[in-house]
Symmetry: C2
Subunit: 362 residues, 2 copies
C-alpha cells in the first residue's frame, strides 16, 4: 500500500518469515528458492513498497550498471545527438548515464573523470579536450576502467575510439566546391590548439605532401588537412590567407573573423566551415554583411544541423552520423564492460555529403 519509508531486504524477510538470504535470492533473482517462499517474499515486498538499494548492491558486486560520459557541452547539437545515441543503447541495456560537461577545458575534464570514477561507473565515454597530455585517462586505463573516446584521439592512448572520417569528409566537400568551378575557397575553422610549429608550418608541411600523423590531430585540423588534400588532388594552390582561424570554439569567434576575409580584395567565392559552431558564426557574419548565398558566396558546412534543411537556400553540408556515433561508442563500451578483449578498435564513420542549394556553379 502506502510505502512509508525505505524498506530493506531484512524488513521484507521479517515480514515474509524467511531469512534475509532467501529474501535476497528472490528479490535479486539468484540461486534457488521454492515457489512458496518466493510468493511470500514477493507479497511482503509489494506490501512494504520495497525498492532495492542499488548502492549496496553495487558495493558488493563491484558493478554499478552506470556509464559515465564527459561531453564538451550538452547544449551543443553535436554532443546532444551523440549523448542521445549513448543514452539509447545504455537504456536498452539497463544502464544509467552520468553526464558532465568539460567545456573543452582539461581541468574541468580531469575533475569530471575523477567524479565519475569515484562514483564507480562501469565505463567512461570521453571527448578528450587535449589530444597530447591526458594523464588522467592513462591512469584510468591502468586502473582497468573501460574507456571509449569519441570524436578525438589521444596520442599514445590505445583505447577504443569512434570518430568521423574527417579528412575524407572534408576532402569530399571541398572537391565538390572545386568541381563546381570554385578556385578560391575559404575555410573557417576552430584550430584552437597549436600544432607544432604553428599554423603556417602545418600548412607548409601539408601542402608539400609531407607525411603527417593525422590520427591524433584535432578534428578541425583534420578537416583542414582534408581541405588541403582536395586542393592537391585537384592541382589547386593553397592560399594561406584563405585559412581562417577562429581560435576558440564559439560562434562569436567565427563571426568575428569572417568579415575580414569576405571583404578582402581577393575574397574567396566559396566558404567551407568545419563544424556546426563555425557554421553558425559564419552565417551570422554573412547576414550582417548582407551577402546572399549562393549568389555572392557559396558555402558548404560540416555537420548537418536541423535548420540547414529549411534555410533558404538549403545548406549543402557534410552530415556526420552523430546519433550512430554515440550508439557505436556505447556499444563498444558495453562490450568492454562485459569483458571482451579485442585489441583497441578505431571506428571511423563515413560522413555523407548532402547537396542542397548553397553552392553556385561558376
Amino acid at each position: 500500500m502506502a510505502p512509508k519509508s525505505k524498506a530493506t531486504i531484512a524488513d521484507v524477510a521479517r515480514a515474509a518469515g524467511v531469512s534475509t538470504a532467501t529474501a535476497g535470492r528472490v528479490l535479486g533473482g539468484y540461486g534457488y528458492t521454492s515457489e512458496e517462499k518466493k510468493e511470500q517474499v514477493l507479497k511482503a515486498a509489494q506490501n512494504l513498497g520495497y525498492r532495492p538499494n542499488a548502492l549496496a548492491r553495487s558495493l558488493i558486486t563491484g558493478k554499478t550498471r552506470t556509464l559515465g560520459v564527459v561531453a564538451g557541452d550538452i547544449q551543443n547539437p553535436f554532443y546532444a545527438s551523440v549523448l542521445r545515441g549513448v543514452s539509447n543503447v545504455a537504456e536498452a541495456n539497463g544502464f544509467g548515464l552520468l553526464i558532465t560537461n568539460s567545456d573543452e577545458a582539461q581541468p574541468k575534464e580531469v575533475h569530471s573523470v575523477e567524479l565519475l570514477a569515484q562514483k564507480q561507473v562501469d565505463g567512461l565515454i570521453v571527448t578528450p579536450s587535449d589530444t597530447r597530455r591526458a594523464r588522467h585517462l592513462h591512469s584510468l586505463r591502468a586502473m582497468g576502467v573501460p574507456l571509449v573516446l569519441i570524436d578525438r584521439a589521444v596520442a599514445g592512448l590505445m583505447v577504443d575510439r569512434v570518430a568521423t572520417d574527417n579528412i575524407a569528409a572534408a576532402e569530399q566537400a571541398v572537391r565538390h566546391l572545386i568541381a563546381a568551378g570554385h578556385r578560391r575557397i575559404g575555410i573557417v575553422a576552430e584550430l584552437v590548439d597549436e600544432e607544432r610549429g604553428g599554423l603556417d608550418a602545418f600548412l607548409a608541411r601539408a601542402v608539400a605532401g609531407d607525411p603527417i600523423e593525422s590520427e591524433t590531430l584535432y578534428p578541425s585540423w583534420q578537416r583542414l588537412l582534408g581541405y588541403i588534400r582536395a586542393h592537391r588532388i585537384e592541382g589547386l594552390p593553397v592560399d594561406p590567407r584563405l585559412t581562417l582561424r577562429a581560435g576558440s570554439y564559439s560562434a562569436l569567434a567565427a563571426q568575428a573573423v569572417v568579415p575580414q576575409l569576405i571583404t578582402a580584395p581577393d575574397a574567396p567565392t566559396a566558404l567551407f566551415t568545419t563544424d556546426g559552431t563555425m557554421s553558425e558564426g559564419t552565417m551570422r557574419a554573412l547576414v550582417e554583411l548582407k551577402r546572399s548565398i549562393p549568389q555572392d558566396l557559396s558555402i558548404i558546412c560540416f555537420d548537418d544541423l536541423d535548420w540547414m534543411s529549411f534555410h533558404r537556400p538549403g545548406i549543402t553540408t557534410v552530415a556526420q552520423p552523430r546519433l550512430a556515433m554515440g550508439e557505436a561508442a556505447a556499444r563498444m563500451l558495453l562490450e568492454r564492460i562485459r569483458g571482451e578483449d579485442y585489441p583497441p578498435r578505431t571506428v571511423l564513420m563515413p560522413a555523407e555529403l548532402i547537396e542542397r542549394g548553397s553552392v553556385a556553379r561558376l
Copy 2:
C-alpha cells in the same frame, strides 16, 4: 606512482601505520587529526593512488550527491538547454547528474524514475509526461524524495516547480501580431493530450471566458489559451479552423498539418507556433509551399532557437529562459535536499518577445 588497482582506506591506513578510523578522518575530512598523522596518511594515499569509493560513502551517509533528471529528449534544444542549466548549478555544488529520456511517454518515465530512485539520487527533476495521473511521482513524495517539476505541473502534486509563464507569453506574441494588423492568425500547436471534452469544447469554454484550471494544463494548451485571451482582449473572434493540432510532438506532424491551413481559401495572414519543434515543422512546410516570410505570411515562434537570429528574415520569437529555468530548478532542488522547508513554490519565468523580421505590418 603507478596506481595499480583499487586501494582502500584500509590499505592506506596500513601503509601509513594508523588505524582505518584515522585514515578515514584525514581522507574524509571529518573529526580531529594531528598534523603528523595527516601528512603520513596523505602521503600513503598519494603513493597508493587512493580514490575514495563514493558508493561506500553514500551507503552509510545516505547521501549520493547526485541529482536525477528525467527529460523528454536530450537531443531537443529545449531540454538540452535546461539540462545545461541544471548541470551548471549541480557541478558548482559538487553534484553529479544522472540523466534519462522519457520521450514524453509515461511508461518510460516511470521506468526512469524507478531506476534513478534505486540509484538513490538525492533528488529528482522531472518534466512529467502526464499532468493527470502520476502515481510514481506521488509515491516519490511519500518516500520523502525531493522533487522539482519543470515545464509542466501535475494535478494534485504539490511540489516545487519552474515553468515559463506560457499564457502571458503567448498572449503577448499574438497581441503583437494583432497590433501589426493581422486579423486571421493561425496557431500551430502540439495539443497531444486530450482535454476534457476535446479541443472544440476547450475552445468554446475559453472563448466564452469560462474559468479554466490553467495551472495543470499542458504547455501547448496554455499557449493556446494565451492565443485565445489575446483575441478576447483585442475583441477579435476566434476561428476554430485556425487552430492546427499536430497531434504529436514532432516536426513532421507539424509539417504535415500546416499545408491544409495555408492553402485554404480563407488562409491566415500570420502563424503562431507554440514550440521549437512546431516551429521547425512549420518552417519546413513553408519552404515546401514556397511561401515567403513575411511577404506571404507572417510568423512568430515560441522559443528562440539558434537559427532564428540568422535566418533571413530574422524570426520574431518569444524567448523562454531555458538555461535559467534549469538553473532555477536545480537550485530549488538543492535547497530541498539541504532540508529547507518552504511550502511548495511555483516559479513562473517571464518570456521575452524578440522582434526580428518575420512580422509584416498590414
